[in-house]
């Protein structure tokens, strides 16, 4: 351990984004120079604070916004002390002491204490139910309140943070009112026109906005009940979020006698008034400015790491910032200064119908500021020219139309070919705004480190690793660099070309946003086509049906023809009809009815299926209702052989007749089929029950297979006899028939709730892992019962025979008759 003693000791106070980014940069430059200790006041590891809004809105989980987990600290030999707020710095002794009494010595000290939310000093500000929007505790408190049945939320502050909080709370089902002191929301980032458009959009989403509203008091006795404005208005509230601003957290530095004004004063090298102490992030004041956005933190972190690594020439010159609002479906971009002034000129573009507004402020032929609403594609381009103070006089005529329109040396081709536009960007163009990564850094990393996937780029450069809005650009850079060698990651593939959201996100957002119709989903998630396509509409219809049983009205026109007409279309446009035979059992009466139907309608082919049913082929569409009627009259119902749902439950004869049978597998199969028929699932589902391990019903290649043994029932899942044969995984062994039913229902419900449309159980289980399925269905008794209860609830609405409805009650009769006959 002598080696360790030769290292300098670096202590970081603040386990947030700025501090840890500095450490990351430092490790890249000189990994062995310091013995590093990190103090964090929160109990969490290092997470991406700017992504708290998507967590609140249910678009991301906490795990997804963790930047470095504990193993990262371990791997890099960093001592992490979470939940230990530092309360004292002794500059003489060069030690820091935490609230818990722990004292650690340093050679260099780095302060990254961030900022504190500003609390307006009104009566009632300490009432339970008043929170800020600053960390995971706040998010958890808000989510708890929304889940507890809190109805009304008031957000004080219509800035970036307040609006993101308001959106998140609204998505969680609360009635939200935003009260804002100024006449325009986000007035520091937006001009009046853009602020107006934003306010209208929020109001369309059911969020009330009151501007010019000054808070007088927060009302309530034991808990907040409302907010009183100075004009006398009173707004009811079960939750009040203070989001009026932040101020640098400087208490520790001030107590240690460092120079502090609005923030901890640092020079261009991020060094404070004590040469042994550096500071970085929102707690600092540099050239008179403090920052509350993320991009400047990265620039400071780089300079600060240079300093710590012994590169004193590196200097920070301040930042120009840009902002985007992280509210799904609202595109707002703002950069620089748009307040105008004597020497400024405005270029404004409005398209009311599309809800697009753009304003560029020019000062001496250079861009001083930009506000984009509704179409923010060119934000990065304007921002780059703004930062580089490029003379835009030659582009002036077409500047407002964006990068795709003339200019930039690639003619008018830019809009039509996004790759050409990306190729034309300079190496210093910023691609990832969240993490401050420029094009050159990404292309160099791809070339130097042999990166081949989006995840690789995220890992090595951090680009696209935060909000993800630049993912498309990063993928284009991968494509440009690797050519045909680049295959976009399957996991992040959009559902179809009508949207940029992958299946899993759509499912989550439907629930989080309480979206209850296909148009609502398309509106909220910004579908690119007016009414989708043949891929997304059936998927959305299923997701809505699964999310809102009994509430969502099935969209008939979004079903594939088989499900629309409850029969299978065949290659010549005729249909095949399969009546249900419970557990594979039939009777003379049923067989006679089938034979009669075959004669009466001249059905050309009768076949026994692989799932122990009888399939009648070659039925004309207009005959379908009459065929069904005759079968119904013999007591037979639809076999759902056409459905993305339960098809058949295959059985062997079991103990009733078989000399090896250990249990009544046929009876078990009938019970399972009675329970599961009519269900809608992401893809077809097949079950089987075998009466002994000889497995005559082939239960181990089914979606859910049951094999009877002497002591009970073995349960198997995720088998497939289709194109890619897959043997089942063993799920569990149970003793009673009731358990078989409960495990089966729970497994199917988990599949219904979480798989992607058109995934059978096999690829789904392979993706999420058998362990996960076991955890949910086998190990968690309460969770299994809840899944089973939800399954049974949804079955209440789906177990009606579609043939009966059409044969005798005239449902959808237009479907089976021609519109007209002519000639």
């Amino acid at each position: 351990m002598t080696l360790a003693n030769t290292k300098e000791r670096l202590v970081l106070v603040g386990n947030g984004m700025a501090g840890i980014r500095t450490v990351e940069e430092l490790l890249q430059r000189d990994p062995d120079r310091y013995e590093i200790t990190v103090f964090g006041a929160e109990p969490h590891v290092n997470y991406n604070r700017i992504m708290l809004s998507p967590v609140l809105a249910g678009e991301k989980t906490f795990d997804q916004i963790v930047l470095n987990d504990r193993s990262w600290y371990d791997r890099n030999g960093i001592a992490l002390l979470t939940g230990e707020k530092v309360e004292k710095i002794d500059r003489e002794a060069r030690t820091v002491t935490s609230i818990g009494g722990r004292t650690v010595g340093y050679d260099r000290l780095l302060l990254a204490t961030g900022s504190d939310p500003f609390i307006i000093p009104v009566p009632g500000r300490d009432l339970p139910g008043v929170v800020t929007f600053r960390d995971m505790f706040d998010v958890e408190a808000m989510l708890r309140k929304a889940a507890d049945g809190g109805r009304h939320a008031v957000v004080i502050g219509g800035g970036l943070l307040g609006l993101e909080a308001a959106n998140g709370l609204a998505v969680n089902g609360m009635k939200v009112t935003v009260i804002h002191l100024m006449g325009t929301i986000m007035e520091r980032q937006l001009d009046e026109a853009a602020g107006f458009l934003l306010q209208r959009e929020l109001e369309d989403r059911g969020i009330d906005v009151i501007t010019n509203a000054d808070t007088k008091a927060i009302l309530g006795e034991g808990h907040v009940t409302g907010v009183l404005l100075k004009d006398g208005r009173e707004i009811p509230a079960d939750l009040v979020v203070m989001a009026v601003g932040i101020r640098p957290s400087t208490g520790l530095a001030k107590a240690a006698g460092l120079a502090v004004e609005r923030g901890v004063v640092v020079d261009d090298h991020m060094v404070t008034s004590d040469p042994a102490i550096l500071a970085v992030g929102e707690c600092v004041q540099h050239r008179g400015a403090t920052y509350g956005l993320v991009a400047p933190l990265w620039e400071m972190a780089r300079v600060c790491a240079d300093q710590l690594a012994g590169r004193p020439e590196s200097a920070y010159a301040g930042s120009v910032t840009s902002t985007k609002l992280k509210v799904t479906g609202i595109d707002v971009f703002s950069a620089g200064d748009f307040s105008g002034g004597k020497d400024c000129e405005d270029i404004v573009f409005r398209d009311a119908a599309r809800g697009v507004y753009k304003r560029i402020v020019l000062k001496e032929d250079r861009i001083a500021g930009a506000v984009l609403y509704g179409d923010t594609r060119d934000g990065a381009w304007y921002f780059q020219m703004l930062r580089e103070a490029e003379n835009v006089a030659p582009l002036r005529e077409t500047l407002i139309f964006g990068q795709g329109f003339g200019g930039q040396g690639f003619g008018g081709g830019g809009a039509a070919n996004p790759k050409a536009a990306v190729a034309a960007l300079s190496d210093s163009a910023e691609i990832c705004g969240c993490n401050g990564v420029c094009k050159g850094a990404i292309t160099r990393a791809i070339a130097d480190k042999g990166l081949t996937s989006l995840d690789d780029v995220r890992t090595h450069t951090k680009a696209s690793a935060s909000c993800g809005s630049c993912t498309g650009l990063v993928e284009q850079l991968l494509e440009l660099s690797l050519g045909d060698g680049y295959q976009a990651a399957a996991a992040a593939k959009p559902l179809c070309k009508c949207t940029h959201h992958p299946h899993d996100d759509v499912r989550r957002l439907i629930v989080a946003g309480e979206l209850k119709s296909i148009p609502a989903v398309m509106q909220a998630l910004e579908w690119k086509t007016p009414n989708g396509c043949h891929s997304c509409r059936p998927a959305l219809n299923y997701y809505l049906l699964a999310a809102w049983p009994g509430e969502y009205k099935d969209d008939y026109q979004s079903r594939f023809v088989n499900e629309r007409v409850h029969a299978n279309i065949q290659k010549d446009g005729t249909y095949s009809v399969v009546p249900r035979m419970w557990g594979g059992l039939t009777s003379a009466k049923e067989l006679r009815a089938i034979a009669d139907v075959v004669d009466k309608f001249a059905i050309p082919t009768v076949k026994v299926t692989g799932g122990q049913r009888i399939d009648l082929f070659g039925v004309k569409k207009e005959d379908l209702p009459a065929v069904w009627k005759d079968l119904n009259e013999a007591g037979m119902v639809s076999g759902h052989a056409y459905a993305k749902g339960l098809r058949t439950v295959k059985t062997c004869v079991g103990s009733e007749w078989c000399r090896f049978g250990t249990q009544d597998s046929t009876g078990m199969g009938v019970k399972l089929e009675r329970m599961t028929w009519g269900t809608w699932t992401p893809h077809k589902v097949k079950l089987a029950v075998s009466g002994c391990p000889r497995n005559c019903a082939e239960a181990t290649i089914k979606d859910f297979g049951v094999v009877a043994v002497d002591s009970g029932w073995e349960l198997y899942v995720a088998g497939n006899g289709g194109m890619k044969v897959r043997e089942c995984d063993f799920l569990a062994k149970v003793e009673t028939e009731e358990q078989v039913l409960e495990y089966c229902g729970a497994f199917l419900q988990l599949y219904r709730e979480e798989a992607r449309y058109l995934d059978r159980t096999a690829p789904w289980v392979e993706r999420v892992g058998l362990d996960y399925v076991k955890k949910r269905v086998v190990e968690d008794d309460e969770g299994r019962r809840a899944l089973f209860a939800r399954f049974r609830f949804s079955q209440v609405f789906s177990q009606t025979d579609p043939w009966d409805e059409r044969a005798s009650r005239g449902v959808d009769s237009h479907e089976f008759a021609p519109l007209a006959m002519v000639g």
Binding site: N531, H534, Q557, V561, K571, G573, H814, A820, M821, G823
Partner: protein, 120 residues
């Protein structure tokens, strides 16, 4: 033999579900009459140029239909296959007036025309 276009009333727009289709049967094969979500009406021969699939049974999106047999996507205005596929289903002229749909057909001379057979 010269055949003139005859305008024939085949039903009302309301008889076709939005984003759906219904069939008009003629001696020369079925015609699929489509109503888009925006209430535009198109008439296309009810045979996919690929394998003869009944286009009337497909999912309608925008002014296109996806054939139920092999997912060819046909543009309803032109009858042409879209994307990399090539082929044309053939279209018929349509008039819509006061919610009534008339198809422009070239019919062989003969007895008068039957009227809508649908009970609904």
């Amino acid at each position: 033999m010269k055949e003139d276009i005859t305008w024939i009333e085949v039903g009302r727009v309301a008889d076709i579900p939005p984003a759906g289709a219904r069939v008009v049967k003629t001696p020369r094969g079925d015609i699929a009459v489509f109503r888009t979500a925006d209430d535009d009406v198109f008439a296309v021969r009810d045979r996919c140029p690929h394998a003869g699939g009944p286009l009337s049974q497909g999912i309608v999106h925008g002014a296109r239909v996806t054939c139920p047999l092999h997912n060819w996507v046909i543009d309803l205005a032109s009858g042409e296959a879209t994307g990399p596929d090539e082929g044309c289903a053939g279209t018929f002229p349509v008039q819509v007036e006061n919610g009534l749909i008339r198809l422009g057909l070239r019919l062989p001379p003969g007895p008068a025309l039957g009227v809508p057979g649908a009970a609904s």
